[in-house]
Symmetry: C4
Subunit: 128 residues, 4 copies
């Protein structure tokens, strides 16, 4: 199978600056969930955009063939960690088609909140 797009956009990036609950599962996080249905591994590069400084990246990782990977922006370290309580956006590019869904868990207040959307898939004609 060869399902998806090679470029996706998530305009609303934000890591809540606090959490109720300390185990990884309930820590506030901002995530991109990726499915790679291909028979080949996907090599992914993510650029982060900010409101007041130049883009940072690429952040690089692989999603193996026939695997999913739910990646938290909170856990990025190279080239630098993603600041909390700061607006950002991301552009996600892969060398094979993937599908990307954006999900945030926010446990700042006494009960968690969730939000999700399929990310914006860029058409082939929109690529660099």
């Amino acid at each position: 199978m060869n399902i998806g797009h090679k470029c996706w956009v998530i305009p609303d990036g934000y890591i809540p600056p606090a959490s109720t609950g300390s185990n990884r599962e309930l820590v506030s996080h901002d995530a991109m969930c990726i499915l790679n249905c291909n028979a080949q591994d996907a090599h992914v590069e993510v650029m982060l955009y900010f409101s007041d400084r130049d883009p940072v990246g690429p952040y690089r990782f692989a999603v193996n063939a026939s695997r999913t990977k739910h990646v938290r922006f909170n856990e990025f370290t190279d080239p630098e960690p993603v600041p909390h309580n700061t607006d950002y956006a991301s552009v996600i590019e892969a060398d094979v088609p993937i599908v990307v869904q954006h999900t945030r868990l926010d446990s700042r207040q006494s009960a968690l909140a969730l939000m999700t959307t399929v990310a914006y898939p860029a058409a082939a004609g929109e690529l660099p």
Copy 2:
């Protein structure tokens, strides 16, 4: 009517491992809501993808003509139950066009959270 696509993707699959409230209605769940507008029944096959092992499936069920079915991943049993507190993704294929929406209800903490998105519809050219 002949509305929808024959292949849909939900990258962010996750069943929360606990619930507040024990009646079915408020149990934490991850669901795909399907509409079949056709005059024929839809035969659906779902493959589940994981982060660290081979895909599992197909899970098979029907959505009758002119009916909706809201299917909880929690309630899948054959070929095997879906593990809780585990990242997965799903590819949903049908023999007639359907429309698929992904919804999660998470009642781990003292008030429930909800999230939803129309799933990603694969174009005809993306099918196997």
Copy 3:
């Protein structure tokens, strides 16, 4: 302007059977939010699909030219009210292009939950 589609689908219809708070604003509801950017009024017809019985409708209303209308399924009465705590789906057709977003507010437990998604727009070739 002539923005949108003439047919939209919301697979995940559900009206929560209880609420915390009794003013209209905080009552649990399931809504379709419609924008009509046209210079003409939009005449809208909604068919509801269920899991275990034939479709019901059409429910009819207008969205005036250059106006938005946020319509709660809870408040439908003709041909019949929409049952609570029951899975349904909807197909929304209009005589001019509109844009439809699906939003649910669920206040069953002690703090409200929200979910939203742009509905699925049927392509012209998918119409009856």
Copy 4:
């Protein structure tokens, strides 16, 4: 890069009329999150549509080249503030392609709720 569309629609506009918590971060808000990947600044114009009166706008602002801007409808002032507890919808136009995501944070009750969706991208043929 030249990713996105020049016209986007958010049918479900609503600013909750109260908040739990008074710092800007947790005040109830309705936002459009915009990414401008272009090498040129984007000049954005937003028209607001209501249920019972003529559209208001345009609200004008820029999103600089290679920057994101998360804009709260709450903070619009010119030509007039956006009323709270009132249904509205928005049409967002830019002179270069952008990507738009709609997010609402609602902290009326004792724990916040979140919802998000990628906005509806109007095709070139739908533009005025």
